[in-house]
Symmetry: C2
Subunit: 276 residues, 2 copies
Amino acid sequence: MVFKLAIMGKPKAWILTIGNELLIGRIVNTNASWLARKLTFLGFSVERIIVTPDEPAEVAEEIRRALSRDDVKVVITTGGLGPTYDDRTLEAVARAINRPLRLNEQALQWVRQKYESGGMQMTKEREKMAYLPEGAEPIRNPVGTAPGSLVAAGEALIASLPGVPAEMQAMFEELMPRLKQLAPPLEVIDCGFIVVGVPESSLAPYVEEAERKNPGCYVKSHPKGHEIRGPVLEIRVLASARTRDEARELALRALEVVKGGARSLGGEITEEGCQE
Amino acid sequence: MVFKLAIMGKPKAWILTIGNELLIGRIVNTNASWLARKLTFLGFSVERIIVTPDEPAEVAEEIRRALSRDDVKVVITTGGLGPTYDDRTLEAVARAINRPLRLNEQALQWVRQKYESGGMQMTKEREKMAYLPEGAEPIRNPVGTAPGSLVAAGEALIASLPGVPAEMQAMFEELMPRLKQLAPPLEVIDCGFIVVGVPESSLAPYVEEAERKNPGCYVKSHPKGHEIRGPVLEIRVLASARTRDEARELALRALEVVKGGARSLGGEITEEGCQE
């Protein structure tokens, strides 16, 4: 049952990172990998990471697609909450769930306080940041100015965070208690090692066997060297179970299968370790 | 007309990066940003970057979605070409375009030569890498072992490259002549500067004006400091035109609008420069 939950029943999450700067390759999407790591260790299965242009119709399309899958419990958007003309993420969220944008009094108060504390007046660009989808809860931004938005859509939550990494990360921490309520009772661990001297194609049957024999594990080999002239593989196992000890035991059992195969093929094992 | 092409008529590209290691946040998606940069400077407009699991049904769904938009001319996939059980990208490509996988003689010869040169025999895991969608052309892998695949689907090309960055980059270069045939006659330039001392919300109307008055430009402000306590903004313009000189002139004209606004608000301009 625990194992079944670990494989079949993990609630799914989608990550939408919004912004043309990602699509023109000016910046690397570190927000997506940071969020994916956090959600994975909370027990969610991240099913998509999508980068869209700053176009509400495109963003709304992806949100609707996520919500149309009934195992998706969390949609996190990053970017597009600021004061410029192309910051239109909350318009997209509102459109995707067929609600209007409304001036949120709490959000407005936060924004006003921030500017007033710096001796600045409100303008329409600043006020814009306080418009949230109707029924949304504002998320306090402890680092910058734009509030986030948290809104329920059926059984899923849509959380909208800024694109500036320090703001996004701080606000994700504020969201944690809410996400934990949706997360399964699972502990997740990521363990692995390096194999030197065995081509990926030779180790492949053992990797497959390790995953097949250990439900609740996801096993993968990552080539780091040259398949023929100097093979180096990183083997990783992501294991999920009811307790940390069970998860660790499960991961090590799966790794043992690959390790046995690697040794029988003359491989050398180094850098063993776990991350949790 | 040139401007119209620059805004309306750029052929679109989708990037699909495949692999659970991205969805669990173990690695940052540098392949996506590298490809996005290359495609942007070739004159394509990258409309989506999508990370999917190693599941052929999920990958095929995204490829079909890309192909269903008739302005999408290029779909590039990375990952899932190797010898392990979860390397199933070409199965997904074949499924998306309703073709079977076939053993490709040229690809098989390349793979066999590589292993034989290292004194290794063929196995079913190694042979697997030579199965391509029917009608696909194999792409030589000058760095590693798995060949890529290039297949036409209507007016679009689907290119499948490995996930190992060095292999992916080398094979993209081999694809360049084919991509250039689909690319528009446009030169693209990316120029910008830093503004110190002006909040993003104050500069917003000038950013909007710069884009509105300069068709063919995409103008964006990126907050780097603190909106209220110490604002620092990076302003970027991506401009496209028939010649490099025109593109540069266009970019500088758009930047001038923002610069004028920034100076009128007491901002200091530094680090001006272009990338092409």
